[in-house]
């Protein structure tokens, strides 16, 4: 197995880029920007997966990289864009609670994830084992994003970003999941976005808004 130093550094750089995009997603207010960022995150994931595939010489990983490219960089952002256009929510500006505090919480999460991943990465034998911490951090940050958002669309983007993190974790810990599982997850994601898209319309019809706060109170006249 080839272990060139430059490639490892490039992989680390790509993983760091994913972390940076996670923070950018945490702090953007505009839904459209969020979708663009999500597409970029997918693109970085595609690059790093193909690099790992090249390094480890695994043809399977090339397939999952291609799957990432088709699904997360092209299809899902397109679906989301058309969805928010249909919903008339392109220019939605979300009021977020205190961004600096969210950022600090995110920072604590990153430290936690790095600490948690340290013993795991010692067990792994892959060349990308150092990025497990970053993958965990991306997952936790997406969780945080889902918690802090109120709008339905942005929560779904948080959910998709979380899957990106899981995928990164899988590739860095064990060179990806078996092909069947990966295909299954991809299909799940696609179906989930379709179903949630239908939900969006239902929610909007009921409450005239996509704000999920309306779902919290019981409607009993």
């Amino acid at each position: 197995m080839l272990k060139s130093h430059l490639d490892v550094q490039l992989l680390n750089l790509l993983a760091a880029g994913m972390l940076l995009i996670s923070f950018a997603m945490l702090s953007t207010r505009r839904t459209q920007q969020l979708i663009t960022l999500f597409a970029w995150q997918g693109a970085i994931l595609f690059l790093s997966t193909s690099l790992v595939a090249h390094e480890a010489g695994l043809t399977e990983l090339y397939f999952s990289a291609a799957l990432t490219l088709i699904l997360k960089v092209i299809t899902l952002p397109l679906i989301l864009h058309t969805l928010i256009k249909r919903l008339g929510a392109q220019w939605d500006n979300e009021r977020l609670v205190n961004i600096p505090i969210t950022m600090l919480v995110g920072l604590v999460l990153v430290i936690f994830a790095f600490g948690l991943a340290q013993p795991i990465s010692l067990l792994a034998t892959t060349i990308t084992r150092h990025t497990i911490g970053i993958a965990l951090a991306v997952i936790l940050l997406s969780f945080l994003m889902m918690i802090t958002r109120r709008k339905a669309v942005t929560q779904v983007i948080g959910f998709l970003a979380m899957e990106n993190g899981l995928f990164l974790a899988a590739t860095s810990a064990t060179y990806g999941m078996p092909m069947v599982i990966e295909l299954g997850i991809a299909l799940d994601l696609l179906v989930a976005v379709f179903i949630l898209g239908i939900f969006f319309f239902q929610i909007r019809e009921q409450f005239d808004s996509l704000d999920l706060h309306h779902l919290e109170s019981l409607k009993e006249e």
């Binding site: 760091a16 923070f23 961004i99 790095f114």
Partner: protein
Amino acid sequence: MRGIAFVWQFGEVLLAIALAPLFSGWIAKCRAWMQNRTAPPLTQQYRMLRKLFLKDVALAENASWLFRAAPYVLFGTMVLAAAIIPSVVTDLPFASAADAIALIGLFATARVFQALAAMDIGTAFGTLGARREMMVGFLAEPAILMVFFNAFLLFGTTALTGMVDNYATHPSVFDPSVVFAAIAFVMVLLAENARIPIDNPATHLELTMIHEAMVLEYSARHLALIEWASSLKIFNYACIGIALFIPWGIAIHGATVGAVLIALLTLIVKLALCGAALALIESISAKLRIFRAPEFMAMAFLIAVLGLLVHLLLGANTSA
């Protein structure tokens, strides 16, 4: 050998003083080009300085010595900072007197004097500008410290000249944390030099100005010194950025005259590129509300801290 070092030292300081207005002029020119306006000539800054130096000073009645001394302090600190930063050569005798943390202290000194002088007259605008400047400053300082800590960790030294020397001897060192530090540094640079996301240097609109509000009461040679000091400040920041992130070409210890000339040329090319990039950033971004400024600086701080964390996670492991 030490004699030549002093020649380089003074040469570099003079170069910084001479080139700083040109650099500001270049940024203004690029901005004008990108916004489809007729660009002012590159020598505009020099002409303005000359005009201001020829005028008589008008002082407010209740101005104290502090008000009159502040421009000289500002200019002095910026020249001293230029003496420490390795923009062309690293063989600087003065640089051993102060490291990067002292450099931040120098910038802080300048800021405090400027704010005090702005409050000295007692006008509403001066006080308003001073308060805003201190707010931006206290948010920007931790961020720039974190950026420097990134570099300290990477190169194992706190002296800017030492960092550049180390970089030249290990050219293959490339760490993801550098990317984070560079982004944070650009954000701090924009905030500290009153550039567009935080402050617009070209406006005299009362409610938005920060830097302009502080220098509103100054005239003639005082104003000229302040303007010169602020162009030196952005020049210094650009040189710090170059030394930290793109130091290729800077003449290291014991370099020959030819190498220094090459270093000079590369510096000019890099400054031209940096100026164009700054103008681009300023042209494509809108000014933030003043209450959004803390958010912007918190982001810069956070990115720098992330760089530290990523370095500890990835950098430590790859070397082990």
